[in-house]
């Protein structure tokens, strides 16, 4: 039991404490342990562990094929890909030693491994990545549907950011935005008071005020700035957005610190199954 409980907790506590407090200690050995050795140990462990992962993958795929489980032909593709990658990486280079020695062959043009990487792996990864465009569209549609006040706020902010960041945003006059706002105010007043005369009065007065102000100032495209889309989007992006993001960041930082402290002090022992 001591190997599965006390020893892991002791290792976590010692290494965790050295890593945390090593940052404050001006001593080259501790510094090199924290910055280099500890991470290299982890890399070495991870390198050995990859064998476990690969064996697990191939075992499961072989089982699927042997038991003809649903979708087993896909497993044949996975096994084929696995064998091909191993062959290209360790057995067949495809070029002489004068062109590339073992090890360098993974990045040298003309080798089987590089061919596999350039013409199979990269296009497949790019295909998965490009799917994001469609997923972003469907997710945006759901997020921007007007269901409540928050969703409406998100929609308006999203539209302002999107239009304000493209060239067409800078040619939309702030006066045009003001007219739109007057009409939006009319909609709000109408749904609030439910009186055509009041709505008409508010919209009429608003249009008159904006028009007179525009005529007096000569309709400048970007004045007043608070109604100019590039200025509004910049404000949304740099103030409310950054404030929200930093609040989340502070919470995340505290969460990470509290979790680390719980590990170092052996309070949290879920990682060993307790």
């Amino acid at each position: 039991m001591i190997w599965k409980r006390q020893i892991p907790i002791f290792i976590v506590a010692v290494v965790g404490a050295i890593t945390l407090f090593g940052w404050f200690i001006d001593q080259p050995n501790i510094k090199s342990f924290v910055d280099d050795d500890a991470t290299q140990w982890y890399d070495i462990l991870a390198s050995f562990a990859i064998i476990l992962g690969a064996l697990n993958l191939i075992k499961l795929q072989l089982q699927k094929v042997a038991k003809k489980k649903p979708g087993w032909p896909y497993s044949l593709v996975a096994i084929g890909g696995f064998i091909f990658a191993i062959t290209a990486g360790f057995i067949v280079k495809g070029v002489d030693d004068s062109v590339a020695v073992w090890g360098a062959h993974v990045t040298t043009e003309g080798t089987v491994f590089k061919w596999m990487f350039d013409y199979m792996f990269t296009p497949l990864s790019a295909t998965m990545f490009s799917l994001l465009a469609f997923f972003v569209a469907s997710a945006s549609y759901r997020a921007f549907r007007i269901r409540n006040f928050e969703a409406t706020l998100l929609l308006v902010a999203g539209i302002i950011i999107m239009i304000g960041r493209v060239p067409i945003g800078s040619v939309i006059s702030s006066w045009f935005i003001m007219y739109i706002l007057v009409l939006a105010l009319g909609i709000y007043v109408n749904s609030w008071k439910k009186d055509k005369m009041i709505t008409f009065g508010v919209v009429g007065a608003g249009i008159a005020i904006v028009t007179i102000a525009g005529m007096l100032t000569g309709w400048p495209l970007d004045k007043p700035g608070i109604f100019y889309l590039p200025v509004i989007q910049e404000w949304i992006y740099y103030y409310p957005n950054v404030a929200g993001a930093r609040a989340i960041m502070i919470g995340i930082g505290l969460g990470i610190f509290a979790t680390s402290i719980r590990y170092i002090l052996g309070i949290e022992k879920s990682y060993i199954g307790e």
């Binding site: 991470t39 979708g71 997710a139 505290l254 879920s270 990682y271 199954g273």
Partner: protein, 287 residues
Amino acid sequence: MKDKQFWLILGGITLAFLIYWFAGHPFFNANRIFMFVAIVAIGSTLLYNIRMAERGEEFYLRPIPGLKAVEEAVGRSTEMGKPVLFVPGIMDMDQVETVAGVIVLGHVSKMTARYETSLNVPVSRSIVMKAAREACRESYMLEGRPDMFNDDMVHYLTDDQFAYAAGVNGIMIREKPAACLYMGKFYAESLILAETGNSIGAIQIAGTASQAQIPFFVTACDYTLIGEEFFAASAYLSKKPELIGGVRGQDMVKVVVISVIILASVLRFLYETWDIGFDVIKLLTVQ
């Protein structure tokens, strides 16, 4: 001031540090003293609250819908006779989010063991596979159902980000799990996974501290644990006093942080406008 022993030890450590400091503090990076004091203060606050919780003091925990929904999601899977899919992110165990994800997996696997529901955990790192297996094995043992556990419920797919996303999507489309849980560190694959889960009609719960991915999860999932909520999940799900005390300690530190932000803003304003006081930014900047 309810814990005399705590204050005595803290006082002793502070006194020892003061003696060390005035003795010339060899090997100590004096530029980082402010950070050191902050870390000791935050750590002490957390410890104090943990000890209070252990002594039986009861703390109120704000209900988090996402965590309440975890049991509901497992129950739904049981009723539908479909598996629960748990994705612990794409990073290794050196990331605290992955560790937090594996902790939540431990609690989820307890529920799947209790409800006799199948669990599928595809992972993208071999070390995560070993850790997740251990967490699941222990949970099934604790629930008295070691017969239901098998190593292959936690299985390795690939280290590559998009190949992993393709593999998990394939599992979703073929097995149609009733509940998909995403708890860990995610990058661009977050939306690919969550949208596919949405398309198969699964109840989806995500938890991550990857700031850029939170909006995607909020959009595509039914519940999202944002940042600190994700790290507090273990306390909420286990109801262990020592963990709940830690969450309360975090909240107290947050109050202090907010006070420091307000105070620093005032000091900065005074310094910038009338040259009164000192440059607080210099003091707070990590050296």
